[in-house]
Symmetry: C2
Subunit: 308 residues, 2 copies
Amino acid sequence: MSKTTMKKKKPKAKKPGVLFARVAFIGIGHIGSSMALAMRRGGVTGSIIACDKSAAHRKTALKLGIVNEATADAAKAVKGADLVVIATPISTNGAIAKAIAPHLKPGAIITDVGSVKQEVIKAVAPHIPKGVTFVPGHPLAGTEHSGPQAGFAELFDGRWAVLTPLPRTPAKAVAKVETMWKRMGAKVDTMNPAHHDRVLAITSHLPHLCAFTVVGTATDLAEDLKQEVIQFSASGFRDFTRVAASDPVMWRDIFLSNREAVLEILQRFTEDLAGMQKHIRRGDGAALEKMFARTRAIRRGIIEAKQA
Amino acid sequence: MSKTTMKKKKPKAKKPGVLFARVAFIGIGHIGSSMALAMRRGGVTGSIIACDKSAAHRKTALKLGIVNEATADAAKAVKGADLVVIATPISTNGAIAKAIAPHLKPGAIITDVGSVKQEVIKAVAPHIPKGVTFVPGHPLAGTEHSGPQAGFAELFDGRWAVLTPLPRTPAKAVAKVETMWKRMGAKVDTMNPAHHDRVLAITSHLPHLCAFTVVGTATDLAEDLKQEVIQFSASGFRDFTRVAASDPVMWRDIFLSNREAVLEILQRFTEDLAGMQKHIRRGDGAALEKMFARTRAIRRGIIEAKQA
């Protein structure tokens, strides 16, 4: 191969250029740091600055080379950023949007990662200045671990990132965020915010609430029983404890922000659970078997959708 | 190496001899076939005969070389067997014990794999003839799959097998079943039957009931919502559907047989869930955060116990 050919290759003909020259993260925890690493891997950005109120998070993110700069000053972080990612617990998002609004670069895009969309939009959208676009988003990925030391670039590979743009959100900005997620390994779908919140209430929030509650119930058991619950946790309980070890503040905010949808699905669930309880109490084996048999259809659907 | 040395090696000086020359399985489903394969791997037995009412199971178990013989006749199966393993849904165990009792070989050991111990002991023990020993057991292992085609020898590796002998059960027979499980890859613990049932109610039966119910609740959703629940199942719900795909008859029997312990723990759980619901409805973030934070201690216990 001649040197000329080599030179021709240098402008990365096959590799697309960066999408956002400068990205600012507000919050560089588990999700923020994983996104930063996935962005670097996907060549999404040139430089990354993180704002985090935790000095330990800032130090870790710098030390691990996840970000180029770190600051405790949100206004400073967003200055000149082409993309701002809000990746903090939902309850803080409104105040953050208000604080950064005057410092945003014209033409910048803001996105977020919140597990609830309606409340985040309600809190953030009013603060977005003219010339800046907010594209609400939610990557359906995460582990029970917290902090930038738990971040990894592969977190979003093959997982869904859901965007919930408003009718007024420019399609171009939505497309750009979509491209970003795809280059970070994710699959992308767009959805109405209210619909997103209902779907997540059943697929994520209710299962997590069950897990938190079951593990909480076990926590109240007598000490000798608790020791054996730990020893024999492999029989189903262990997965619940993993889920229930997730960040308490993040989950507090999810349940408070998606209150309506969670309470609605919780109402259905407790009715169904009361039905199960009645069948068990009465010894109605036929009814139990029927209940257990019908849930297999959903599992089949998941296997067919290749999500198993 | 001389031929003499080779010959000397043949009696398997290092490898212990078979524990049970002939083993009979009543039921050769997922657990029975996995046990048979683990027994072969561990050199526990010489020959294995299976009784199963399903012609398809018998055919598969023979075809896959899991058993040496297969029959629909339980009396025939147990004839001459040194160990009889009952591996059928719990509700059938009493009738099986009664049917095989007159045909058991003097000195034989019977064991079972039921997820509930008090009811199984109550149903089986009265039928055990003099000279035969019943050692109730429960391997804490399994997948959501069913049938002999789902069996594999590694299922019990590193998992617990709990034995719940009665005060009158000869220690020698218990020790033999313990050795058997260890040679099949499992760790063994012994426990009081009532205590076993309480521990399993919280570690296994309650989590399974939650999963069955959550998936059942989702099954009742409107069709469009259901499709998205399947698409976005990765966010917590997927694990629940895997659990909820477990054998309906097996689980029906577990809930009916462990009724008292399940209802007791379910009562505590629903109280705790109502507490969560109240906090969500009232928007009491501090209470929710406190609840979510305390469940981490149990998870830490599991990690320290190396069960994570």
